[in-house]
Symmetry: C2
Subunit: 250 residues, 2 copies
């Protein structure tokens, strides 16, 4: 049984808390939040506190707070606190300032508090300052997920950049699809199966093999027709992506 505490009450913290509470191999001992109100509902299930001096001794403390706050908070943690791991996709291992054992426990997913989902399929990227600490984090990660990866700080930062493309930017393209639908009185739901299939396709073939459309065919007539109906902002995006696809295939 691994004893764990979580510092934080945001999206990542919320999902980890519920995953740890549901794991047979993990004992969630304590949750810390500056704002006690945010974790009040956990009282009875785990210890809660808003005081860093009240932290219990555990095997692993997960620092699930915003990137900007990691450095400041990490300085305040005692050196005999056990292994301390943050959950950031971008902060390096050494963003944790203290003489305690350090690690990273980064769940690669787009979390929103409202949307519940099973962490089992979420990749957990782990890194630590020693082999034994890495093993401890691996044990913790496999307690909540089937997909655990050893990923160093540089790789993790690049995964985060790749995630910006496939998640943040793709979502913005969905938003543009939504805007076009709205403007022409078309229900956005009509695009849902296409969005789903596009995402699904790259499980069985490479994105490069899955590429279709006027940019790939270099179909200038269609491209010009499309551009003529778009807003300036949408045109800019259409052009730059068309250019990139065109270059890759023609």
């Amino acid at each position: 049984m691994i004893r764990v505490s979580i510092l934080g009450s945001g999206n990542v913290a919320t999902h980890l808390i519920s995953a740890f509470l549901n794991s047979a191999d993990i004992q969630l001992v304590q949750v810390f939040s500056r704002n006690l109100e945010k974790i009040k509902h956990l009282e009875g299930e785990v210890l809660i506190t808003n005081n860093l001096h009240e932290l219990e001794l555990v095997d692993v403390t997960i620092v699930a707070i915003s990137d900007d706050s990691i450095l400041g908070l990490s300085k305040k943690l005692k050196n005999d606190s056990g292994l301390i791991a943050h959950t950031s996709g971008t902060a390096s291992l050494n963003e944790l300032k203290g003489n305690y054992p350090k690690g990273v426990f980064y769940p690669l997913q787009t979390f929103s508090k409202e949307k519940k989902f099973n962490l089992k399929k979420v990749p957990i990227c782990i890194e630590a300052d020693s082999d034994s600490n890495l093993l401890l984090l691996e044990k913790l990660a496999t307690g909540i997920s089937d997909n655990v990866y050893f990923i160093d700080s540089k790789q993790r930062q690049n995964i985060h950049i790749a995630a910006v493309f496939v998640n943040n930017f793709s979502n913005h393209l969905y938003e543009i699809g939504n805007q076009i639908c709205k403007k022409h009185n078309i229900p956005f739901e009509i695009l849902q199966p296409l969005i789903k299939e596009t995402a699904k396709k790259v499980k069985s073939m490479t994105p490069s093999d899955a590429q279709t459309g006027p940019a790939k065919r270099n179909d200038q007539l269609t491209i010009e027709k499309h551009l003529s109906t778009l807003s300036n902002q949408q045109q800019e995006i259409y052009k730059v992506l068309t250019k990139s696809i065109s270059k890759a295939y023609n």
Copy 2:
């Protein structure tokens, strides 16, 4: 029982042929292809031909060929052929040149021949030159899909543009994710659950509500860090999408 023929042997034709063959309400009578070799395997199940003069009399003839070829082929069809419908997302109803009844039967999906899938969930956008022809196409469409929409030519052209954004362009962003992974020795599969969840999320919330990331937060430090690691082409895409997201939320 609706009697149908299909002209064409590409991706769309292939999927429609298999859907029609599997429907209890539809009788696929004949398939035409200029290149008989491509439809040879259908012999025995349906009539096949490479000669437009040999077309049987049916209720609906589906012209599932490339946009550029619709006009030319449609001129050669007899005026007593029954309802003629093309499957293009961009060509208007009147691209069909002839004095026969006309319609559009556009399945909104990304088809590749290799990948089999059920048409049941694929939206079929239909349009026709009369109410009775529209009803006939509706009957045909509901025989293979649960999602049938009445969509006029202008709406359909805009759906096609929206589809370029959510399908072609999103897929290219997946490809960039793949390139970044390759460069840093990260398995692309690590991004799969994120890609899937991003697509799934917009079923339960609007893309605008689902938006996250450095561009939305206007996190210049992270944006600069990311840009510094990207190729020129990737930078251009990153910048233009970040600008668009930033404008929308800040």
